[in-house]
Symmetry: C2
Subunit: 111 residues, 2 copies
DNA sequence: AATATATTTAAGTCTTTCGTTAAATAATGA
DNA sequence: TCATTATTTAACGAAAGACTTAAATATATT
């Protein structure tokens, strides 16, 4: 929990997760999408991996990274239900979603 | 988005939110639940307030803090829907849309 | 074997964050 | 008014985080 939220506190790391949500990528492909050095990206990937949000597999000389969706979803949904108990805020929550011009959904999402 | 995740990256701040999920509390009541100084807690409350996760109201000499559940839920659910494909089919289904696949843009920052 | 490519580790700097104590602000009550 | 209580602001040092470049490791190529 601590590591997940710390991992998510960085814009670069959230962007990495967004990239990985579309496709598995090598470390180099990820680094190529940022203006920072490869070692810097490598460190960000370590943080994400230690948080359980990504996993890596070495194939040949490349290291492929992929998102671990379940861990991200469980961490965020779990925390949400801890702090925003489902019983109480359903109506207010979906009203808020509509208000923010995001399509309202996921009020009854399974864990 | 940035401020929300930065706010959530601290254990103390997540605990404050947990306390506030059960009841509205004054700054002093919150500070009394931690072993750090009152100014430290006050700063944490500022971070939470700047992130839109809590709001405060001064009544007499006390400042009462309460959780803004909708903002927390929207931030976390919104991010999850961006990054976790599993949440997207549900979203489509409940919205009755026949949207093809993921929208490629909008990776991180909210519109 | 020698070289090139992909990635990580190491070491150092710079900035940010987290805590502290002391002082300021504001409401309460003797 | 003066003192007390509640809270925040200010200033500062210690710890942590995010970069950098240089070096190490591992795989592929010639």
């Amino acid at each position: 929990m601590q590591r997940v939220f710390e991992a998510l506190s960085s814009t670069v790391r959230r962007k990495i997760l967004a990239y990985l949500s579309h496709a598995e990528l090598t470390a180099g492909e990820i680094a190529g999408r940022f203006d920072i050095s490869k070692p810097a990206v490598s460190q960000h990937l370590s943080v994400l991996q230690n948080a359980g949000l990504v996993e890596s597999e070495k194939r040949g000389q490349f290291v492929h990274y992929r998102l671990v969706e379940a861990n991200l979803a469980n961490a965020l949904n779990g925390y949400l239900q801890e702090v925003c108990p489902v019983s109480r805020p359903l109506k207010r929550e979906s009203a808020g979603l509509k208000n923010q011009s995001r399509t309202a959904a996921q009020t009854d999402e399974a864990p």
